[in-house]
């Protein structure tokens, strides 16, 4: 999941998986949702918008997705 996410945000490296998407990486709410849409299509999974509001970092998002699909 992390790899798929790295591929969708240009210039992002593994060290930033704990950076806050909004506060530190400067993404706005629409960009976070677009990132999720990319991941959905790459992994052929469903990510409800509601999952995004509780995940502030990539790691949290990955964890939430893992929980979602389990």
């Amino acid at each position: 999941v992390l790899e798929a996410m790295q591929a969708t945000v240009p210039g992002l490296d593994a060290s930033q998986r704990d950076a806050e998407l909004v506060a530190e990486l400067g993404l706005d709410s629409m960009q976070v949702m677009n990132l999720a849409m990319e991941i959905e299509d790459r992994l052929d999974i469903t990510i409800p918008v509601e999952v995004l509001s509780s995940a502030r970092t990539l790691r949290e998002l990955a964890r939430a997705l893992a929980g979602q699909q389990a």
């Binding site: 706005d28 949702m33 849409m37 509601e50």
Partner: protein
């Protein structure tokens, strides 16, 4: 830490915009004179950014109906529809709307924003899915947030992306409401509605079209894009607003399903808001008659639309949509250029709308014109001439940038 700390970045942007001679956001309009004229900053300007597509805000029949209603029924209902705010005029407008579509149910809301809040949160509960176009209006996003169902997005105007998501949902498709708009108000583009409706139907999902910007403009009777494309039989719910072609304030939902009536007992925004004032409903009933019989208004509007969609690209401006419609959105390179153009046009006597991210899709900086049937040929000449005066300096600035 304070409650206000989080607003620091926002405050910077806002201050920058407010520092302009006349603020392009929340522009103070001193006096409005007609559907197309107002005084701003001491100067009379031509209004080219009002959503007043049919130009009905000063129509004598509408003003007379509102005046009569405020005299006979008072200034407000002082209550919700659930309690003391359900007058004959509320039910009459709902009946007019249902009749216009030939459908069994119509519900009126206090604003267009509330119509989406009330319908989406009321329709989709636990286990249901709201599958919305990524470029949908904020009121649709907020309706989804208020709903206890799940929200998913598909790529803007992309039937394949919709198809993929419905496929992933499998059996849950039958509990999924697909939400699209008849006209997207930022770029002015239209959806491939026939394709989206076919995909929705093939998975057994439900379809809602928000015709806020397309009602009054498209279709023989002005019912919107669904009417224009002959797709009314494919649509389950249509939401709309009174604040554009209907020249008032309020919103509505109409449906082919009589069970929409249940929202009156299940939709919190409907139950817990004061109902619209009688004058607003009386004026909207009159406006609705004018819209449904408004063939001449629509031809005037479309004549103006075609002129602008021809002239502005010829001047070198890039538009948000190749297909003409009542919203003409100019794509500009950045905030500074967009705000500068807005100011220069205002100084030249033309009021338009400045639209900036994140309200806009793809981070675009836009200058938006909304065309009106009330614009005369001379008004359209003036708008084109003002843009022509800006085209050369703008091209120079873009090259230098």
């Amino acid at each position: 830490m304070s409650l206000f700390d989080k607003f620091q970045a926002l405050e910077q942007v806002r201050e920058e915009l407010l520092r302009a001679p006349v603020s392009p956001v929340a522009t103070p309009i001193e006096t409005v004179h007609s559907a197309t004229r107002a005084t701003i900053d001491g100067r009379e300007v031509l209004l080219a950014g009002t959503n007043n597509y049919l130009g009905l805000t000063f129509h004598p029949r509408i003003l007379a109906a509102a005046t009569e209603a405020i005299r006979s029924q008072g200034s407000g209902t002082t209550g919700s529809r659930m309690a003391n705010g359900s007058y004959a005029v509320h039910r009459a407008l709902e009946s007019d709307l249902a009749t216009a579509w030939g459908w069994p149910s119509a519900i009126v809301f206090s604003t267009g924003y509330q119509a989406n809040l009330g319908v989406l949160s009321g329709l989709a509960g636990q286990g249901d899915v709201l599958l919305i176009d990524a470029d949908c209006h904020a009121s649709i996003y907020d309706g989804c947030r208020l709903s206890t169902g799940e929200t998913l997005r598909f790529r803007h105007n992309d039937p394949d992306s919709l198809d993929q998501r419905l496929r992933r949902l499998g059996e849950r498709s039958s509990r999924t409401l697909v939400v699209v708009e008849g006209l997207y108000s930022m770029l002015g583009d239209q959806p491939p509605l026939a394709e989206l409706a076919a995909v929705t139907r093939s998975h057994g999902a439900w379809l809602m079209v928000d015709e806020a910007h397309s009602f009054g403009v498209f279709g023989e009777r002005g019912l919107g894009l669904s009417e224009q494309l002959g797709l009314l039989s494919e649509v389950d719910f249509i939401v709309g607003t009174f604040s554009k072609s209907l020249a008032g304030v309020g919103g509505f939902c109409v449906s082919r399903h009589a069970a929409l009536e249940m929202l009156r007992a299940a939709s919190r925004p409907y139950i817990f808001s004061a109902s619209p004032a009688p004058a607003m409903l009386a004026s909207t009933r009159e406006a609705l008659k004018l819209v449904l019989s408004g063939t001449a208004l629509r031809s005037a509007l479309w004549r103006n639309i075609h002129r602008l969609y021809e002239a502005l690209p010829a001047l070198g401006f890039r538009l948000g949509s190749d297909v003409p419609g009542p919203v003409v959105a100019l794509l500009l390179p950045d905030r500074t250029v967009a705000a500068g153009l807005w100011q220069a046009l205002l100084e030249d006597g033309i009021y338009t709308n400045l639209m900036l991210p994140p309200a806009t899709p793809n981070g675009e900086c836009l200058l938006r014109i909304s065309v009106s049937a009330a614009h005369t040929d001379e008004d359209i000449d003036s708008i084109i001439a003002a843009f022509a005066r800006q085209a050369v300096p703008l091209a120079r600035a873009s090259r230098a940038g």
